[in-house]
């Protein structure tokens, strides 16, 4: 099914710069977030969280807490026998810990009381006896047999997922190369730091049904998990996603506190609310995985790539979360920007005793992208080719199917590169600025929505219902979730464009599992493309219903009924939209419609090929300029230029906002943000607590750190997107970290192979440089001992493959094309 809206007559909504439909309510403080809700007789919940990274729970004594005035209910893991997890294959979490804890902050006991202070007093009065176990600190610590693995029996390892793929004749590709580059990189973990702390409110509402209002990006999946954990039918539960105060992936998992307050409200028959504190948000985490990378690339003297071999060692933290998908994502999008004829990918995720990692803006792909774009800079330098020119030589083309069977539809990357080269004055700056100043370039790509749902099924990924009231009010219903990115505006504007209305004429009802048809949620940059296509589909049906009814009444052909400027135009005169709806209702009854969207089937048909496909990829190129203070190691960024292949900007204001916000978050990752752990007291567990779970200790860029950003949107409508649109919320983050690292090299000749690139690291590197030593940092060797499985061999399109893995013995590398 391809993109909708391409052949409709434009009515002036799509493409314009305009304030989002909810701009006013957001600027007045009157938008209600989850913690702004309250209900009569509401109780409050606090959680006792594990102080240990790894421990057995020997006993829990709640007697003192029970005796406190105002404490209504105390829950432990006994109340939650049913496990859950966002992925069907990783049902490894319980709302409250049962038997053991696996990271600092894992919830163990819930106290529900008349107010927060009483609940906290109850938590403080609970006595837990622990048997502290040695923690798995880093991914490499968990790859061998362990006395105490996080999951599984003693003597097993702590590996969560390990995969190996050979796409084509990789060894032959390396043999064909003139040069082989082999680099290691070390990408630190970091967190979303959405300004709103997670909050949830549950209550038994009308007809005895349970409702959960929550700051979640994925109400549909929370709905399903809630049904499983509470052992209640889905139809008896309602989940409402309250507009999130920022998500970035941090609210796209199913959280303990959501299950706990729902269970408590169900048991007590009273509303129960929880609002997390900032420290708890750091413990919920689900942020960027720390990844160690080894990247080998074979190239010809002209810069063309003959083979690539990527290894990723992924530090997963204490739960499965999205981790299986994350592991695949560290490899799957490595191929969609440049022509890479043969590709070997090996990824391994290991459980460690730290807060669970998950999806943060870019989900698994910024880490390998960082390595690739820095290595390309080195290759360009060696081959004497300008790094922008090198990328232009090897850029993928429209309609390509990559070695790992990812389908490229349109790729505007060459235009993006040319644009940033021009806007930044690249040719006058690269290798030409005085020492201390430099520029770097990097590119990237991201999904416009995952091609497959998290829980595989053949139903639509997004559906929209439209109700047209005789007053002329149009209401669009969709399960999509407004997390601040502007999804409500996209929904309203797609409908408005088709019906010839203003976006503010369309009311939207979103994120409510009772009222809205399913949309899978705000993750993988899927909303604009998938909900947008569903919205256009629904709106076209509503428009046709009105047009056909009017055509019958007036005796004109339906295709001569046009919708524009809030009016309906007929050959014999025009009507207001409301008058037209009334006439249509007389003739044909109330007007309503549905529309939906299901992405095209991926061309990858091997196991694991379900992670990476998308209806269409977005592309980005960025140039970062730096000014390095060699006395302090401080990197100032005077300006960033970025061009993003968006296909079509549905609302140019929102699109630019998203690009600049992505640049900002990428700059934070590049320079300062880190979910850093430190060794705890030796008298306790000896290891691994968060270095500073607060907004002061977790450094993020302020107004003073943010440079001006020059944004160019490259608009070449993509056939898969609504009105040609691709994603914009994640892709523009990815090139910032490698572009900054490349700029550092241009400025002072130091290679950074890790993030964050902090002043202390730069200073040490400059000292090594002055001493005549290698100044590269962050390139510690990729560890031996990772238990790679036998590689799955997948013939490439050039080999004449069909997207499936070869049967053992069926495919001999180096045979060349079978076709």
């Amino acid at each position: 099914m391809s993109g909708r809206g391409h052949n409709l007559p434009p009515t002036g909504v799509i493409g314009a710069e305009r304030p989002r439909i909810d701009a006013r309510v957001r600027a007045t403080g009157q938008l209600h977030y989850a913690d702004d809700l309250s209900l009569p007789r509401m109780l409050h919940c606090r959680l006792l969280r594990s102080p240990h990274p790894h421990a057995r729970i020997l006993s829990i004594d709640t007697r003192a807490a029970d005796g406190l005035d105002g404490v209504e209910l105390i829950l432990t893991g006994e109340a939650f026998p049913v496990p859950y997890g966002i992925l069907p294959i990783s049902q490894d979490e319980h709302a409250l810990a049962r038997g053991k804890v696996r990271y600092v902050g894992e919830p163990v006991v819930a106290v529900i009381a008349r107010d927060e202070r009483t609940a906290q007093a109850g938590v403080d009065a609970v006595v837990v006896q622990w048997d502290v176990l040695p923690p798995v600190r880093d991914a490499i610590d968990g790859v061998g047999p362990l006395e105490h693995p996080l999951y599984g029996e003693p003597g097993t390892d702590s590996v969560h997922k390990a995969v190996s793929f050979d796409f084509g004749d990789v060894d032959g590709g390396f043999a064909d190369a003139d040069r082989v580059y082999d680099d290691c990189f070390d990408y630190a973990g970091n967190t979303h730091l959405a300004l709103e702390q997670h909050a949830s409110l549950a209550a038994v509402t009308e007809h005895g049904r349970l409702t959960l209002w929550s700051s979640t990006q994925v109400p549909h999946y929370v709905h399903k998990a809630l049904a499983k954990v509470l052992e209640l039918p889905e139809a008896e539960l309602r989940v409402v996603a309250i507009p999130n105060g920022g998500g970035f992936g941090g609210k796209s998992d199913i959280f303990h506190h959501e299950m706990v307050v729902a269970k408590a409200a169900w048991m007590l028959g009273r509303p129960v609310k929880i609002a997390l504190r900032r420290e708890e948000v750091f413990q919920c985490h689900r942020g960027r995985h720390p990844v160690q990378l080894r990247l080998r690339t074979g190239v010809k003297e002209d810069g063309s790539i003959t083979a690539m071999h990527l290894q990723t060692l992924v530090d997963g933290g204490g739960a499965g979360s999205y981790g299986v998908a994350s592991t695949y994502y560290t490899g799957s999008l490595q191929t969609v920007t440049y022509e890479i004829p043969t590709y070997r990918f090996q990824g391994c995720r290991v459980f460690t005793n730290k807060a669970p990692c998950g999806p943060k803006r870019g989900h698994g792909t910024p880490q390998p992208r960082f390595g690739l774009e820095i290595q390309l800079d080195k290759i360009a330098d060696d081959l004497g080719i300008d790094p922008a020119e090198l990328r232009l030589r090897i850029v993928e083309h429209d309609g390509a199917i990559t070695a790992n069977w990812m389908r490229v539809v349109t790729i505007g990357l060459a235009d993006c590169i040319k644009q940033v080269v021009k806007s930044s004055g690249w040719n006058d700056k690269h290798r030409k600025l005085p020492r201390g100043r430099g520029v770097g370039i990097a590119c990237s790509s991201y999904l416009s929505g995952a091609g497959l749902p998290i829980q595989w099924n053949k139903m639509p990924h997004s559906a929209v219902q439209i109700r047209v009231d005789r007053s002329g009010l149009v209401t669009a219903y969709c399960g999509a979730t407004e997390i601040g990115q502007g999804s409500d505006d996209v929904l309203a504007s797609c409908v408005a464009e088709v019906l010839g209305l203003r976006s503010t004429d369309v009311r939207v009802v979103t994120g409510d599992t009772d009222l809205c048809p399913v949309d899978l949620g705000s993750y993988s940059s899927r909303v604009t493309l998938m909900m947008g296509n569903a919205a256009v589909d629904a709106a076209v049906h509503a428009r046709n219903a009105i047009a056909e009814a009017l055509a019958g009444v007036r005796g004109v052909p339906a295709d001569q009924v046009r919708f524009f400027g809030g009016r309906v135009l007929l050959p014999d005169g025009d009507l207001s939209f409301a008058a037209a709806v009334k006439l249509a209702e007389v003739a044909a009854g109330p007007i309503g419609s549905v529309g939906w969207y299901t992405p095209p089937k991926p061309v990858a048909r091997y196991k694991g090929g379900g992670v990476g496909p998308t209806p269409t990829y977005s592309y980005t190129a960025a140039v970062v300029e730096v000014d390095v203070d060699e006395d302090t190691g401080f990197i100032d960024v005077p300006k960033i230029w970025i061009a993003h292949d968006i296909g079509r900007a549905l609302n140019a204001t929102l699109a630019r906002n998203q690009v600049i916000g992505s640049v900002y978050m990428g700059l934070g990752e590049a320079l300062m943000e880190e979910q850093a752990m430190r060794r705890g007291r030796p008298s306790g567990h000896g290891a691994w607590v968060h270095r500073g779970p607060s907004m002061l200790d977790y450094k993020s860029p302020t107004h003073l750190d943010m440079p001006p950003v020059h944004v160019d949107l490259i608009e070449r409508p993509d056939p898969e997107g609504p009105f040609g649109a691709k994603e914009v919320g994640q892709g523009p983050l990815l090139p910032i970290m490698p572009a900054l690292a490349n700029a550092l090299y241009d400025a002072v000749g130091v290679r950074a192979h890790e993030v964050p690139i902090t002043p202390d690291k730069v200073l040490k590197a400059l000292a090594r440089q002055r001493a005549g030593k290698d100044s590269t940092f962050g390139d510690r060797p990729f560890p031996d001992g990772v238990p790679w499985p036998e590689s799955v061999r997948v013939p490439t399109p050039a080999d004449g493959g069909d997207g499936r893995a070869a049967e053992a013995g069926d495919y001999a590398p180096g045979q060349g094309s079978k076709a």
């Binding site: 403080g29 977030y33 730091l193 204001t653 906002n657 907004m695």
Partner: protein, 153 residues
């Protein structure tokens, strides 16, 4: 220990009852029902809870409510007088609010700046708002909005 607290809140004289340990933020959100003022850290690190106390920007999560007895407190609810304040209009126009969670604090800090310096430079805006974290916008649209509201753009 319950205590009485008198404030001039968004121009109206109000009497509130609070716990001795309550912060101004808690009293505003839970006692006075003004949920427009947000919390991001409760430690004075993010600026989301910024309100004006006697015209000066203050982090309401750090202020003991009883210390404000008799003070004039302005929250985001008191910013526009039934119509949008020029700052709010500019935030809406420029996309200065994405998720909107930082906006109430950002708006109050910006109002304090404009009350003091009606026509600030971009650097003055950045400095005045440096204590207010925003994770969505990258700040550029916020600075543009404040300059626009001040007629400096």
């Amino acid at each position: 220990m319950k205590a009485r607290l008198t404030l001039t809140l968004n121009g109206d004289a109000v009497d509130l009852v609070c716990d001795g340990g309550d912060t101004l933020l808690e009293v505003l959100r839970e006692g006075a029902g003004l949920t427009g003022t947000k919390h991001g850290c409760e430690l004075g690190e993010c600026g989301a809870c910024t309100v004006l106390v006697d015209g000066e920007p203050a982090l309401s999560c750090l202020l003991p409510a009883l210390e404000c007895d008799g003070a004039s407190v302005t929250t985001v609810e008191g910013l526009g007088d039934r119509r949008l304040h020029p700052l709010q209009q500019a935030f809406a126009k420029w996309g200065g609010s994405q998720c909107g969670y930082c906006s109430p604090g950002m708006l109050m800090a910006a109002k304090a700046l404009l009350d003091r310096t009606p026509h600030p430079t971009a650097d003055e805006v950045r400095l005045a708002l440096a204590g207010n974290i925003c994770r969505c916008t990258g700040y550029q649209d916020i600075v543009d909005a404040v300059l626009d509201a001040a007629g400096s753009r």
